[in-house]
């Protein structure tokens, strides 16, 4: 029993002290496959700053929109930045800064209504 309690205390300390340290910076990559019409990433939570880097493959049939959205605690998703990227190009957006830490996500959407045949990635980095 003591061992379980000590483990629980140790785990709690790790969660309380180490997690915020590891949460200093995070990154995720959203991939839009050629058979998809759009894609949204999951959220990276509790960050004030974020940027997106959109890559559109040479094989893509058209441009792609990369969207960066932010949701303040208690609020909904709000678009902060939209990049249009031609095939065979990479675009790095300016870092978006908020004064309150919140959730961030990125999206990819080929230009045109319900269009496909675009292979693209959007890398979200938040810190």
């Amino acid at each position: 029993m003591k061992r379980v309690a000590s483990f629980a205390v140790a785990l709690s300390l790790i969660v309380v002290f180490a997690a915020p340290t590891f949460a200093q910076a995070a990154s995720l990559r959203l991939i839009l496959e050629a058979n998809q019409t759009s894609a949204w990433s999951g959220a990276l939570g509790n960050y004030k700053n974020a940027n997106q880097k959109v890559f559109n493959a040479t094989s893509s049939a058209r441009d792609v929109y990369g969207t960066l959205q932010y949701a303040a605690p208690g609020g909904g998703w709000v678009t902060q930045q939209k990049l249009t990227v031609h095939p065979s190009n990479t675009a790095q957006g300016t870092t978006v800064l908020q004064t309150t830490a919140g959730d961030w996500r990125v999206g990819l959407d080929p230009v045109g209504f319900l269009t496909k045949d675009v292979y693209a990635t959007n890398t979200l980095t938040a810190w």
């Binding site: 040479t58 605690p73 800064l97």
Partner: protein, 672 residues
């Protein structure tokens, strides 16, 4: 009439579904407004971060009033009482007026609740001076006007449409004014970016757009809610037009003036329709090809088959002084006189002026017209004679550099006035407007009169209603602005946004601290330079002029402004940032990473040197751990300060080696 009114309100008692419907609506209005208040008080948000919340639900208002009005005014028909009401020609209109009284009373009550809650947010966040009239105007245009339009349409539908047709029309109306209707113009215009195949039906779509546009975008703290002249004209057109059509139903049919009144309203509607079609500078961040944040890319990358050429031709003269008169109404109206010096221009004077501004005349100091030609952004004034002064008159739209009734954003890096010589404006590599304007290091004297409907400020000092001073390229910003002296810099910011004055103090201080640590000899923020916050109009970028800095992000990004854009340095930038901002976090993360194998490093180094976009993508996705670990080893070997200075010098240099090459080459001196 009093009896009829009593009867109408009694309907609400008898028909509980009506009463419940109204109650649900009023509760929704109070709940949304109440949540905004709670949002502000609980989380401490201010300005548009709070006020933009309920805007996205504004379609509820016209939908509710359309259904309510249609139902109330259809009742006599449903009860087969229409004929008996209409039989009394002198009084039939009173029945309909009485029926209209119910939705009108509900609208007044709901609007008062809505406005009260909004104004409470404004006053509680101490922004009454800045936002009071803006919020009231937005409430009238985005909430009250669409609701009035819905009531008028409900009246017409109740008189003209049967039940099924009436509800079909209601569904169509809600779809057309709602956020999802953009699918229709989007299908037409964005199915292809091939200019020859595009059908831009957005101008038609705009005529039905009576609710606040761009509801998924964050509200620009400089611009606020879009309240352009065009939107007022569209709302006025629908109200006047529907009033004109419905007037015969609510006026005594025996009154002879009814037809004249109706015709007058329809005439007013026609005039407002024409006004709504007039070209104007507006903020639209939807998916149209010429949307504010995409117009430049559409123009420079895709104009026909041949994109416009980017020229770089020296002027052969110097502009010693500018005398400018600007007026911002529907668009920017300008009269700009340039005083020339050191003139060796040959047979033509060459200037650069953004293509959105249409020149109406070019004249000499005597007022004589000069021959000129225009090729996109480039203006050539043909004259072999030497002129002391040339005057340009032009009007137009600068895309995201807006100047209209509610906002002015004319940054110095943007040619909103004629710049000497042909200057390239579009970077074909990054597909962005070039924001560092060539000034040849020569400032000019400026005397500028700016006539606007909003307060305007500039990096030039204002004296006697004119902005007068010496500058490389002046900036004018107007709208929901504030100006404050922070750490020796005049900072222009937008209090209704999420960046308060303290933010700039912290970011400027962190920039100075970073610069000291990496050993920067010449700061990006020169002493006394004016600082402008990002306006949030779409595509904000950090830009540096000799006497002005446009901050679009924080101190760290400012530190690396001017670094050459290299695709194979992104991971090193991240590691460098972590060492600068959070060295402890970097140490803890990197110490857990495995030691990279030599063959793995060699393979990644090969990938990173590839000029191919696909290979670089592969590299980016697999090199994170290796770059961080190599960077960490370098820090352990050489010490934090030395690595910071060396890495900064490398990132600012044109050094051809990749980030892995840099990290594995040992200590070295990199020439910036």
């Amino acid at each position: 009439m009093a009896t009829l009114l009593r009867f109408q309100f009694a309907v609400l008692k008898r028909r509980r579904s009506f009463a419940l419907f109204m109650l649900a609506f009023l509760t929704s209005v109070a709940a949304l407004g109440g949540y905004e208040l709670y949002y502000m008080l609980h989380y401490g948000y201010r300005g548009f971060t709070v006020l933009e919340f309920s805007t996205r639900y504004s379609v509820l208002w016209p939908s509710f009033f359309l259904v309510l009005t249609y139902e109330l005014l259809s009742l006599p028909g449903q009860c087969h009482m229409d004929e008996s009401v209409d039989a009394h020609r002198a009084t039939s209109h009173r029945h309909r007026l009485a029926a209209l009284a119910v939705p009108t009373a509900v609208l007044i009550a709901a609007f008062c609740v809505y406005l009260l809650l909004r104004l409470t947010v404004v006053f509680a966040s101490s922004m009454a001076g800045l936002l009071l009239w803006h919020v009231i105007s937005a409430a009238i245009l985005d909430i009250l006007a669409p609701s009035v339009i819905a009531i008028l349409l409900g009246l017409l539908l109740a008189r003209k449409a049967e039940r099924f047709a009436g509800y079909a029309a209601i569904v169509a109306f809600v779809f057309v004014i709602g956020p999802y209707s953009e699918i229709v113009p989007h299908v037409f215009s964005a199915a292809t970016f091939d200019a020859a195949l595009q059908v831009n039906v957005y101008p038609v779509f705009d005529l039905f757009r009576i609710l606040a546009p761009d509801q998924t975008w964050s509200v620009s703290p400089l611009y606020g809610f879009p309240l352009e002249f065009q939107r007022w004209a569209v709302a006025g057109f629908w109200i006047a037009g529907l009033s004109g059509l419905s007037l015969p139903f609510v006026l005594r049919s025996t009154w002879r003036g009814a037809e004249y009144a109706s015709a007058s309203l329809l005439l007013i509607a026609a005039l407002l329709f024409s006004a709504a079609l007039m070209p104007s500078s507006t903020l639209r961040r939807d998916l149209r090809p010429d949307a504010t944040d995409m117009a430049d890319m559409s123009y420079y990358d895709r104009l026909g088959t041949e994109p416009p050429e980017q020229l770089d031709v020296r002027p052969g003269f110097r502009v010693a002084a500018y005398d400018m008169r600007f007026s911002a109404d529907r668009a920017l109206d300008a009269v700009v006189s340039v005083d020339l010096a050191d003139d060796a221009h040959g047979d033509a004077y060459r200037f650069t002026l953004y293509h959105g501004y249409k020149i109406t005349s070019v004249s000499d100091s005597q007022g004589n017209a000069l021959t000129y030609s225009r090729d996109g952004d480039y203006v050539t004034v043909r004259s072999t004679a030497v002129h002391e002064r040339i005057t340009f008159r032009y009007r137009g739209d600068g895309g995201a550099r807006i100047a209209n009734y509610q906002c002015v954003f004319l940054p110095g890096y943007f040619p909103y006035y004629p710049i000497a010589g042909f200057v390239p404006l579009w970077d074909r590599q990054t597909h962005r407007l070039i924001e560092t304007r060539r000034t040849d290091g020569v400032p000019a004297d400026f005397s500028v009169e700016f006539d606007a409907h909003v307060p305007v400020t500039s990096n030039l000092p204002e004296t006697g209603g004119r902005f007068v001073g010496r500058s490389y390229a002046p900036t004018f910003v107007g709208g929901l602005i504030a100006r404050q002296e922070i750490l020796g810099h005049g900072v222009v910011f937008y209090p209704a946004g999420s960046w308060p004055a303290q933010f700039f103090e912290a970011e400027i201080a962190s920039l100075r601290s970073f610069e000291r640590r990496v050993g920067v000899s010449r700061s990006v923020l020169s002493s006394g330079a004016a600082v402008f916050a990002p306006p949030g109009l779409g595509g904000d970028q950090t830009a540096v002029l000799p006497d002005t800095l446009f901050i679009a992000s924080g101190g760290f990004d400012l530190l690396l402004v001017g670094a050459p854009p290299k695709d194979n340095r992104g991971l090193l930038v991240q590691a460098f940032r972590d060492l600068l901002i959070d060295p402890q976090g970097l140490r803890e993360r990197c110490s857990a990473l495995p030691e990279p194998r030599k063959d793995e490093v060699a393979k990644l180094e090969r990938l990173s040197r590839s000029g191919d976009n696909e290979t670089l993508q592969l590299y980016d996705s697999s090199a994170y751990d290796v770059v961080y670990r190599l960077f960490y080893d370098k820090v352990l070997r050489e010490g934090e300060d030395a690595v910071l200075k060396e890495t900064y010098a490398y990132l600012m240099s044109q050094d051809p080696s990749s980030e892995i090459g840099f990290l594995t080459s040992g200590t070295r001196k990199v020439e910036p």
